[in-house]
């Protein structure tokens, strides 16, 4: 025992250096995840918070009631809808923009790089407020522009399916910039020799794109897919600010369901169980991505 202390004292500096950050991470990331797991098997709520003796162990009850909770099922289906439409859309749009931006070297392309990047650093609440105005049925810009070309007003946020698509449009707009930068960095890292070789082999532009560029972007695509997928699974601020999950829970995401149960209804045990189901989805999605990546890693 004494030896350990002697070692620690002699080599104290690295430990001192990591101590503050490590302390925060342990207290607010590592301990909580263990705690959350425990909580998910209890019925802790506002009353339990005030008086610990009222908390009881309920086994798998929370998980079982979640799976029969129509609202939860709906939030899962909505989240899948967001993921299935949103993720490919973000990848196609950001890769397309990156390819266009990579075409030229003059100043104008640098300016556009900045313009496309801007939405991704702006505040999500502010952005949701702005888009809420644009989407407004009576006073919004979008419906006005449609009325100019004689198209009837669209209930952007008032019909469940359209509302989901509207939120996706906003999130794609916001997610474009960061992912585009990742693709651009990868594009600029492709050695010129590959293109020259393709040219000598007589490949046309389309063939070069299809068989040289896109395969060489596979790591960037993989990275963007994983981070975007995880981001969409945790979709929260957009539905919170713009629709508060409505209409008829049509835009309710899993993250919003968890927030609502945990902090508005104070059913913390129930919400914690929901958060573990979300965590499970994230882990499964990540593992699948890694497996797919391994399967076509011949490039």
């Amino acid at each position: 025992m004494g030896d350990i202390f002697k070692y620690l004292y002699k080599n104290r500096y690295p430990y001192i250096f990591i101590a503050p950050a490590l302390f925060i991470l342990i207290s607010f990331s590592i301990v909580p995840i263990v705690l959350a797991f425990g909580i998910s098997f209890t019925d802790i709520n506002l009353r339990g918070l005030a008086d610990w003796s009222r908390i009881s162990f309920v086994g798998l009850d929370n998980y079982i009631s979640l799976l029969t909770d129509d609202v939860f099922i709906k939030s899962v289906l909505n989240t899948l809808f967001y993921v299935i439409i949103g993720v490919p859309l973000v990848i196609v749009c950001s890769m397309g923009t990156a390819l266009l931006l990579n075409y030229g070297k003059n100043r104008i392309f640098t300016v556009f790089r900045a313009v496309y990047y801007m939405p991704s650093i702006t505040n999500i609440v502010a952005v949701a407020v702005i888009w809420g105005f644009l989407y407004n049925t009576h006073y919004g810009l979008f419906n006005y522009l449609l009325s100019v070309v004689n198209i009837d007003a669209v209930p952007w946020l008032e019909q469940p399916t359209i509302a989901k698509l509207s939120l996706i449009a906003l999130a794609v707009w916001k997610g474009l910039g960061l992912n585009m930068i990742i693709f651009l960095a990868a594009l600029q890292g492709i050695p010129k020799e590959y293109y020259e070789a393709a040219k000598i082999d007589g490949a046309n532009r389309w063939q070069t794109l299809r068989h040289v560029t896109i395969p060489l972007l596979s790591f960037a695509t993989f990275f963007v897919t994983i981070t975007t997928l995880i981001g969409w699974l945790q979709f929260f601020e957009e539905p919170y600010v713009m629709t508060n999950g409505g209409p008829l829970d049509g835009t309710l995401s899993m993250a919003l369901f968890i927030y609502r149960n945990g902090f508005q209804l104070s059913e913390m045990g129930y919400a914690a169980a929901g958060s573990f189901i979300l965590f499970f989805f994230i882990i499964v999605a990540t593992i699948v991505q890694f497996k797919v990546r391994k399967a076509d890693a011949d490039y």
Partner: protein, 276 residues
């Protein structure tokens, strides 16, 4: 040959046009926000809408501070920004230790730190709330600030950068009798300035935009940040779009200005963060 060059020129024009169209589409929400924020209440709701405000007014911006408590929200947000810079030094110190020291348990500790990046906020928010509640820190500034002080991704980026600092340099400073803290603050921080700059900008943006955690912890308006205040404004003044746009502009414009100045660093920050 000549027709080929002509074709190339045409293609460049086409791509530029495509980029301009996309750029306009991307900027519409920002432009609409700025224009609408200067319109008086009746003009904002006018149909057909005006593009530029006909009677420009600062009324909406004044309202943010007189009728809404945006002054207080701004102060709270700046406090969070300030403390997040202290957190930045914690991350930098940890990154330095992981990069340049050998100590028992280094590998497992580092991988544990990385693993915390995987944990979604939704899982930890409830237990963290319970922990802070137990400490009596809910509805306090400390409760809002503390959990955000350390970030695994930031530690990782610092470590990547500091691994490239030559060890000989540190050894030389040690031989000269400099203490470890002196070495860190006087030698390492100046060398690692680029990564500190990038991280400082990202930290500022993150803290300025912080929403979910203040929303959970602050039940009192006195502790609201700008984002939480803005979402409250949107709920309370649902049809006062001029005021909403002014609130949004107040949050977005500083970030756009910072971005305009430091664009190179921000974008390079992501590229050099080892995505390759």
């Amino acid at each position: 040959m000549k027709s080929k060059r002509k074709y190339k020129k045409l293609e460049e024009i086409l791509i530029t046009l495509l980029l301009i169209a996309g750029g306009v589409l991307v900027s519409i929400p920002f432009l609409w926000m700025i224009f609408s924020s200067f319109k008086p209440a009746n003009e904002v709701l006018a149909m057909p809408p005006t593009l530029l405000p006909e009677n420009p007014t600062f009324e909406n911006y004044q309202n943010l501070f007189t009728n809404m408590s945006f002054g207080i929200y701004l102060r709270n947000t700046l406090i969070i920004v300030l403390f997040s810079f202290i957190g930045l030094f914690f991350n930098g110190m940890a990154g330095y230790a992981f990069a340049k020291f050998n100590f028992k348990g280094k590998e497992p500790i580092f991988y544990t730190v990385l693993a915390t990046m995987m944990i979604p906020a939704q899982v930890t928010m409830i237990p963290v709330y319970l922990i802070l509640n137990q400490l009596g820190l809910t509805n306090t500034m400390a409760g809002i600030i503390l959990p955000g002080l350390a970030a695994a991704f930031s530690i990782f980026l610092f470590r990547q950068f500091m691994s490239t600092i030559p060890t000989d340099l540190i050894e030389a400073a040690r031989l000269d009798g400099a203490g470890e803290f002196r070495i860190f603050f006087r030698l390492i921080v100046p060398i690692a300035k680029p990564i500190f700059a990038v991280q400082a900008i990202l930290t500022f943006i993150g803290a300025w935009n912080s929403f979910l955690w203040p929303l959970i912890i602050a039940s009192d308006q006195r502790l609201y940040t700008l984002s939480v205040g803005l979402s409250l404004l949107q709920g309370q003044h649902a049809s006062n779009f001029g005021l909403q746009m002014a609130g949004a502009a107040f949050m977005v414009v500083p970030i756009i200005l910072i971005f305009a100045f430091f664009q190179k660093y921000i974008i390079e920050g992501f590229t050099m963060s080892g995505l390759k």
